[in-house]
Subunit: 328 residues, 2 copies
């Protein structure tokens, strides 16, 4: 059987994650990594060739699906519609508020060039979105809850690093146990931001820095920290490098709802992820959806899709008959 | 907006569950219940009209989707292909080993009459199957675990009731906490049947019955109990009626797998259901998939599908644009 030819655009943590996810997929092969850096400066872990981003048009005929591994703030808004002109594409665009605009741009580019695109693939948006959808559809009288963590928030870690006197930092988002327990028990509390998550920071201060001032700057930072209870630990760079090198994450989506003519029976649906590596798991989700993009492209479908439009069976290497036999 | 016209075939626990699920769905209306009993003997909870099963052909033009609420052993194998001749149908066929055969029969009938059918809808098969599919697709190097309970097993309760000297009985399937904990922690143990679930029976013995003999008969019953640790409580009929009237159920599907070129990062995906009423929740899943069957039928699609073939967004009352905005 001919393998699905995957290419990667952007070789950071997410790109390396896709590289290893493709290596785990017997029906796929990685044909190249495209980068805006000097290709000679880049050595891929599996030895796959590296090309300049400008080479995509000439190499596109050898690519079944391009997995975009850039960032949502600066890379994907322009890159996904641009690359959709040349091949089927998948991205992990995660700026929730801008998804409709991004969808429209990618849809137009993909339709005009007869390609298939899937955007906002990962776990949130992605698998968590699916679970919100299934939950609401099955239990229309109910309430959603999404908790994130325990995990590293890159955005919050960056925000702490920008404070004067901070040399390095790592921020963890942690769901509040009591809130989780209440929801699991079938209660449907109204929870404030503070009641849902706490934040924990591990900070390396510069020599002679005013740690009290740093602590105040963190705890009062608008949007990022002021609505949360935050714990701050000052540690050495060695400790940070030794104990906080990983990029774990995860979270839980709940649907808590009632059935019966009087709403007399209660049901709780819980979907929980516990992830050692956020980028590698996200990359694995992208890679599974690349299989779906390939199959839909083979059917002659074009335009943009999201995870909500993709039948689950399309992600799985087995065909429909095997899946019915083995998984139902 | 015109509402989706739903009919129910079979008015037991599941049929009554569909009746209340439709009442919760603003875009649906229940147009009738079809029964093999005497319609005059049946009074629906919402007052919806009851018709004889033989009237389906003449009433079919007023039905968008028929939800079949019969049993997998005796009703659905013949009923689903038969009714698919007249309208779009959904069933909860759950005899796992016979799904391929049932699929083929329903597919043929539905294609020949230009209808759309979805079979094996519920939570297992159904939502659990979806989660096995997503889990395997995203984490190809990993292991699946499915636990059932705590919940009432109708089949096991019936088996106990057939033992001489037993007047009434209720059996609960219970997952073993230690096994759940191990899997949640990211371990991937090989678990025997006995290590995964225990069974608990509440038995009402007939006056003067040999309870020791009943206990032995239960614990040694092949297939049903002999591979499990079973606890038996003899109680009065009053206690059984008072404390064990409900039909709770639930369970957990796990995917535990690794990513990274050396498999160095571990991930656990957990999908957990805690259900007060097994038939009402199953009915709610059927009702959500009835919406998908209607939409696919509107698109002119025909033949048989399973939950693995249905895009999640099709289940939700909102359209794709709203879902992208609100759920992604």
């Amino acid at each position: 059987m001919k393998k699905i030819r995957i290419a990667i655009a952007g070789y950071g943590n997410l790109g390396r994650g896709v590289e290893s996810a493709v290596a785990q997929s017997a029906d796929m092969e990685l044909v190249g990594v495209f980068t805006r850096r000097d290709p000679a400066s880049l050595h891929t872990k599996t030895g796959v060739p590296v090309c300049k981003m400008e080479e995509v048009p000439e190499k596109a005929s050898g690519i079944d699906v391009m997995i975009l591994c850039g960032g949502s703030a600066n890379d994907l808004p322009a890159q996904t519609p641009e690359l959709a002109k040349y091949c089927n594409v998948i991205d992990s665009f995660d700026t929730h508020a801008k998804i409709p605009e991004h969808f429209a741009n990618v849809d137009k580019a993909a339709r005009e060039s007869d390609h298939l695109a899937i955007i906002s693939v990962g776990w949130d948006p992605g698998l968590f979105s699916l679970n919100r959808c299934y939950g609401q559809a099955v239990l229309p009288q109910g309430k959603d809850y999404t908790f994130w963590g325990k995990g590293v928030s890159q955005g919050h870690s960056d925000a702490v690093r920008r404070i004067p006197g901070v040399k390095d930092a790592r921020q963890y988002t942690i769901p509040v146990d009591e809130a989780l327990t209440q929801v699991r028990q079938g209660k449907t509390p109204d929870l404030t931001t503070r009641q849902k998550h706490t934040r924990e920071c591990f900070v390396v201060a510069e020599e002679g820095a005013d740690t009290a001032a740093i602590e105040t700057a963190i705890k009062t930072m608008p949007n990022y920290f002021d609505e949360y209870d935050t714990t701050i630990h000052f540690i050495s760079q060695e400790e940070l490098d030794r104990d906080h090198k990983g990029i774990p994450h995860g979270g839980v989506v709940f649907r808590s709802g009632v059935t019966g003519l009087e709403g007399e029976n209660h049901h709780v649906v819980e979907y929980k992820l516990t992830l050692d590596s956020n980028p590698e798991f996200t990359a694995s989700v992208l890679t599974a959806y690349a299989r779906a993009a390939f199959r839909l492209g083979q059917q002659g479908q074009t335009g943009c899709r999201t995870v909500l439009d993709i039948a689950p069976g399309l992600l799985h290497p087995q065909g429909p008959e095997e899946l019915r036999k083995n998984l139902l």
